[in-house]
Amino acid sequence: MHILETRKLNKRFGGLHVTGDVDFALTPGEMHCLIGPNGAGKSTFFRLILGEHLPDSGEILFQDHDITRARPFQRIRQGLSVKFQVPGIFKELSVRQNLVIALQHHVDPRMLPEEIDRLLEFLGLAHAQAQLAGNLSHGQKQWLEIGMAIGLKPRLLLLDEPTAGMTPDETHATGEMLKRLNAEGMTLLAVEHDMAFVRQIAHRVTVLHFGKVFAQGTIDEITADPRVAKIYLGEVDA
């Protein structure tokens, strides 16, 4: 059984094939990274999974349910969650209020304050809970959004460049945080550029190129693959 599966997923913008016949499957409990040069279709692939865009053809299955045409909020309620690249938080609201909004839907109101305290502790944001979210540092905003995303207790967490703009220390700490979540049973799928980070967390890696699955394997297999080096790592070095 797969937790997420796409079959021949196609999306065109105008004449441009942004994703072409993407067949992709994710095993439960996996930490999977999606890499590829700019314009490889990674973001579009994410948006298709989330329902921000609808595919021209193909299917998306989540826990064996067809969610190809489901609205985004319905997918979230089935156990999907996302952390965006640019922190998607409620800037004018307090840090605590941000988490309240994320959690109130499925946590018993009597348990809510405790649950939020625990999450604030986990994120290292307990001291900042009364601040406006817009006043946090960039790294803290990223963590807050991760907190909102995991607060939904998702089966599958999608992360779009979760460490963008973080210092190396913050990046490492984020990686360890994600590993802890994975150990608790959450499946993770991340788009990432930072190869050190990919090496830190990924069980398996998929390379997208021109909207197609180009290669798949462990990070060692991928880095050893000369074709990948040519299209992707070559670009990074250059």
């Binding site: 921000e52 998607g88 409620f90 800037k91 909004i101 109130q104 839907h105 939904l152």
Partner: protein, 355 residues
């Protein structure tokens, strides 16, 4: 036991992150204002008291607009449409049904319900069509302008519903006032003391009710949608449904204003839905500070009183001043003038405490 803790939890929503005004200081101020409002008729002519109910009549529409625009972030320029729909409904119903047996109260509910229903239908098309803020504003404004023109051409005798003549441009009159059936003879709510207290009580109830609503889970989501709709949707909320609900509640309140106004003056005209009429609620709410119920209430009341004084002493300039007030607010204090004053005071007092 379970019951009381639940009630306590609901009451606790009166204070919360989505409303300014917390703690003993605010509530003692609130009690003082309330006391003054209750005592006011003792110091004034009952004719004036009845007249001044006029100001209260509009505040329901202002609070509703604060909910839709300030909290929900949806630009609704056509609240006067729902004001007018309820006003005309009330007129037609009461002229036909009369004022016995509490039928005026039934008419009130039916008229407000009619506004809510119209808002639900219109809102369904708008919010489920996912149009952006700008278009929502101009479509809702178009609705009220077309309604105005429709009502303005109903002068002929063929525009009669039962025994109620719509009477076109000149407006419909002579509908009975709200009447409460009472053992010792019905209480007719003419512009006089009873009406003053009933309207005041209604206003307090709506204000406190809305405070609870915006601090509830519903209010949290509504504010989240204003701040970042995509994130709100990606937390599993059907944002269209929340926006629609806020729109319906706010429009029902506009309808309530319409009924109260019509019952108060026994008169309603199509001009109440025109371009100028539609602009005024925007001024009240923007000047006060639309993103908070209390600043909206204070601001709307202040603007209404200023407008009324201008109308008496320099009638022609009243609208010019309103327009200028709107432009200046947007330029100088985009979050509202009352809001800016509150924020400045808070900052000052915090600085004092720090010292």
């Amino acid at each position: 036991m379970e019951q009381t803790s639940r009630i306590r939890r609901i009451l606790a929503l009166i204070e919360g992150p989505q409303t300014l005004g917390r703690g003993p200081r605010f509530w003692s101020g609130f009690a003082l204002v309330l006391l003054l409002a209750c005592a006011y008729p003792a110091f004034a002519d009952s004719y004036d008291v009845g007249n001044n109910v006029y100001f209260f009549n509009w505040l329901f529409m202002a609070l509703g607009l604060s909910l839709i625009w300030g909290y929900g972030g949806a630009l609704s320029f056509g609240q006067t449409a729902f004001f007018g729909i309820a006003a005309y409904c009330y007129g037609v119903l009461t002229i036909n049904l009369g004022d016995a047996y509490g039928l005026t109260l039934f008419s009130l509910l039916a008229a407000v319900g009619c506004s809510a229903l119209c808002a639900a239908v219109l809102g369904y098309f708008l919010f489920y069509g996912r149009i952006n803020g700008v278009f929502l504003g101009i479509v809702s404004l178009s609705v009220t302008l077309v309604l105005e023109r429709f009502m303005a051409q109903t002068a002929g005798p063929e525009w009669t519903i039962g025994s109620a003549r719509l009477n076109g441009f000149n407006g419909m009159g002579n509908m009975p006032s709200l009447t409460i059936p009472w053992p010792g003879g019905p209480i007719v709510l003419y512009p006089d003391l009873p009406l003053y207290y009933v309207t005041l009580a209604l206003l307090i109830a709506v204000y406190l009710g809305l405070r609870m609503l915006v601090n509830s889970r519903f209010g949290n989501v509504l504010v989240a949608i204003r701040e970042n709709p995509l994130r709100a949707e990606m937390l599993g909320y059907d944002i269209r449904r929340y926006q629609l609900m806020a729109f319906v509640i706010g429009s029902a309140l506009a309808g309530l204003s319409g009924v109260l106004y019509t019952s108060w003056g026994n008169y309603i005209t199509p001009a109440s839905m025109g371009m100028t009429a539609a602009a005024l609620p925007i001024v009240w709410v923007a000047v006060g500070g639309r993103s908070d119920l209390t600043t909206t209430l204070v601001g709307a009341l202040a603007v209404l009183i200023v407008f009324q004084l201008l109308t008496i002493h320099a009638s022609q300039y009243a609208l010019v001043v309103m327009g200028a007030l709107l432009v200046i607010t947007v330029l100088v204090a985009p979050r509202g003038i009352v809001m800016a004053l509150v924020e400045a005071t808070l900052r000052l007092s915090r600085r004092k405490e720090a010292r």
